[in-house]
């Protein structure tokens, strides 16, 4: 089977095209660097094709780890063809990568995307002329509508049959004689990408830093010549979008961003939308789901004879999963809002505005996406940390991610907030999210200080154009989240709540526990002294809190299903201890899935060992402080 690599600048629509061609649903968005790993997909056709979607790069000289993925794949696993997707509204910058790809010993197909947007800016590309200048086929496609994909597949098939690499016109015209000789020598030694290797070695020669500048200058000179002959670009810079007057305003930008975030929380958690008494969409969805599941439960179990098995099914299985599932619509509501912010390009603006404050934490504006992704799930957030510029900032960001309260923690917040603070539930929840962020800020300040401030963090980030969020992208991303959640409900949460139920019915010597002396109770009581200073570790029912926290380590939703299985919240908390419990739950170590990703992403052993302990310590101290203050009122 033939392998085709999709390569191009960040945010030029590679993943969108990849989804279109292979029927996959890779994440897409309006932020440079959504794709951090290579993805594989297949398309039909005569023999079938294997497509590889690579992280976006501006050049083949890598800068961040996810860009190394692209370079390594192209050099080491040499595909049969590179489809070089290029954003037609930035033709010059796109061609820079094209020229580097032409140095490789791999056929290249240049495909322009978003030509309609470019046309509105007055940019038009004469593809036949450009094809003659570069010596490779040049096509157009719309990754949005799918126009041009037929031609693309045909051209790809032909290019692979001919297996003809680019003419590298520019290298003949613009590269010094000695370099071509060096390339010829490498080729004689059996080096596959001889020209690229010869150029790359000189570019990376830090003692003669001038080579990198020289090659870049020559490449752009060649590009300028191509533009003159084949691409029409209107004079001058395009006017900045009018919306930026507002979103990037020095006065209004940052308050506006925070107001948008508050609005998102209000729409998701507000019991009364703008004080009107009508529940917000998120709350409405949750209540409807809850009602539906109650009816389903009544339908399923009302006819069954009461017995151990029925109790196991209705309380252990259905009760546990049901509690977790009833929050799925509300979680999707939060994701929907966040996706809107990212897809429209607002998030990238916020990165520009918030870069300076983030700098104090040893981070850059780029850290905003991992952080906000962390509100969804820590696992993709930890992976997207790869887009940060230096290893030190990646270390700091990875440590801070779990403090950004993930979507799986939401059900427990909603449950406790509604039970103990019924009139201020959305404020309590927004407060929890804010405390998580505040903790991350404090921890970041501390880490930045102890890891040494000496090396400055470079920050270079493209600010994309505004785009109308696409329903198809939103639907896809919600579908993916929904699938992940259901998957987890059917596996980890199911197992955890069944285990919790069984353990709460059996004593340590395998006798049925009649509401007392169960394994779980004994375990919970063992941990109780640890939680006593936090207000939920005393006698009575409070072992359930410890049991919920333990199952929360498997999956955060399992904590809420454990409470559901164990018979609810009665007598478990006072408002003060509920608050301290919530804070502990917010900050304590992430679930096993996130933890294993943390361990695989973090290269330093010291950090791998210390981070979980540090998270636990932070959670305990914060919950202690909260309880001491709250119990005074």
């Amino acid at each position: 089977m033939k392998t085709i690599a999709l390569a191009g600048n960040p945010n030029c629509g590679k993943s969108a095209l990849f989804n279109l061609l292979t029927g996959s649903d890779a994440a897409v968005g309006n932020w440079p660097g959504i794709t951090v790993e290579r993805k594989e997909g297949f398309s039909g056709g005569e023999e079938g094709l294997r497509w590889i979607d690579l992280p976006g790069v501006y050049a083949l000289s890598p800068f961040t780890p996810e860009e190394q993925v692209t370079r390594r794949f192209l050099l080491e696993e040499t595909p049969d063809l590179i489809v070089n997707l290029a954003d037609a509204s930035t033709p010059e910058r796109s061609l820079y990568l094209t020229l580097q790809l032409l140095e490789l010993d791999i056929p290249v197909l240049l495909v322009w995307n978003m030509e309609d947007i470019a046309a509105k800016q007055g940019i038009s590309i004469d593809k036949p002329a450009l094809s003659r200048l570069l010596g490779i086929p040049v096509l157009g496609v719309s990754a949005l509508t799918g126009k041009g994909t037929e031609e693309l597949l045909q051209a790809a098939g032909q290019a692979m049959r001919e297996s003809r690499t680019g003419r590298i016109a520019w290298s003949r015209e613009a590269l010094p004689q000695c370099l071509r000789e060096r390339a010829a020598e490498l080729e004689r030694q059996g080096e596959r990408h001889s020209l690229f290797r010869a150029v790359d070695t000189l570019e990376n020669d830090t003692e003669n830093g001038t080579y990198a500048a020289l090659f870049a200058e020559r490449r752009y000179a060649f590009i300028d010549a191509c533009v003159k002959k084949a691409i029409h670009i209107p004079e001058g810079q395009p006017a900045p979008p009018a919306l930026d007057r507002l979103f990037l305003s020095p006065v209004w930008g940052i308050p506006l961003f925070f107001m948008l975030m508050l609005l998102v929380f209000h729409v998701t958690f507000g019991a009364s939308l703008f004080g009107s008494g009508v529940p917000s969409p998120g709350v409405f969805l949750h209540r409807s789901a809850e009602r539906g599941l109650e009816m389903l439960s009544a339908l399923l179990f009302s006819r069954m004879e009461p017995c151990f098995f029925r109790d196991f099914l209705s309380e252990g299985i259905f009760g546990g999963i049901g509690t977790a599932l009833s929050f799925l619509p509300q979680i999707l509501c939060l994701f929907f809002c966040m996706e809107l912010l990212e897809d429209s390009g607002c998030m990238a603006r916020a990165a520009f505005l918030l870069d300076a404050p983030l700098r104090r934490l040893g981070l850059t504006g780029r850290a905003l996406l991992p952080a906000l992704t962390g509100f969804g799930c820590s696992v993709p957030a930890l992976l997207s940390v790869r887009t940060l510029e230096t290893e030190r900032s990646r270390k700091i960001a990875r440590f801070l991610i779990p403090f950004f309260s993930c979507g799986a923690k939401l059900p427990l917040y909603a449950l406790l907030a509604a039970a103990f603070f019924p009139h201020r539930a959305d404020w309590v929840i927004a407060g929890l999210y804010a405390s998580g962020v505040l903790t991350a800020v404090c921890a970041g300040l501390f880490l930045h200080k102890i890891t040494g401030k000496r090396d400055s963090q470079p920050f270079v980030m493209e600010i994309p154009a505004y785009r109308l969020p696409r329903w198809r992208n939103l639907r896809r991303s919600l579908g993916r989240r929904c699938g992940d959640y259901l998957n987890k409900a059917a596996t980890v949460i199911l197992a955890a709540s069944a285990a919790v139920w069984l353990l709460s019915r059996v004593t340590p010597d395998f006798m049925p526990a009649d509401g007392q002396g169960s394994v779980l109770e004994c375990g919970g009581k063992l941990l109780a002294p640890f939680f006593t200073p936090l207000g939920f570790g005393g006698d009575g029912e409070s072992w359930k809190a410890a049991a919920a926290l333990l199952s929360g380590l498997l999956a955060k939703e399992a904590a809420v299903s454990a409470l559901g299985t164990l018979g609810g919240l009665e007598g478990l908390f006072t408002p003060a201890s509920a608050l301290s419990f919530l804070v502990f739950y917010l900050l304590y170590p992430p679930c096993t899935a996130a933890l294993s990703v943390y361990w695989s992403e973090e290269p330093s052993r010291k950090w791998r060992l210390c981070a979980p302990a540090a998270w636990l310590l932070t959670a305990w101290s914060a919950a202690f402080a909260v309880y001491q203050v709250a119990s005074k009122f």
Partner: protein
């Protein structure tokens, strides 16, 4: 007038003279088009005065002052005293 990119005021234009330094960051700046002769437009500064928003070759890029200091530019201004209007 010759100056560094980091010294540009909001809403001003300049042409790149050269980009200093070696290593991965400069290669990144080269790839983005910060090569001699490229026209730049400094659109605005962030409320904290760094990073700055620069547009060149049809796209916009945010970069910090430290990165801007590596890039030497020529502005249209005749001299420094000439253009201190409010």
């Amino acid at each position: 007038m010759r100056t560094r990119l980091s010294e540009l005021r909001p809403d001003s234009r300049a042409i790149v003279l050269r980009t200093e330094g070696d290593g991965a960051l400069s290669r990144r700046l080269f790839a983005l088009g910060f090569v001699p002769g490229t026209e730049l437009y400094c659109e605005r500064l962030s409320p904290f005065s760094s990073p700055m928003l620069v547009s060149l070759r049809g796209f916009r890029i945010a970069l910090r002052r430290a990165e801007g200091e590596r890039i030497f530019v020529e502005t249209g201004d005749k001299d420094e005293n000439h253009s201190t209007s409010g």
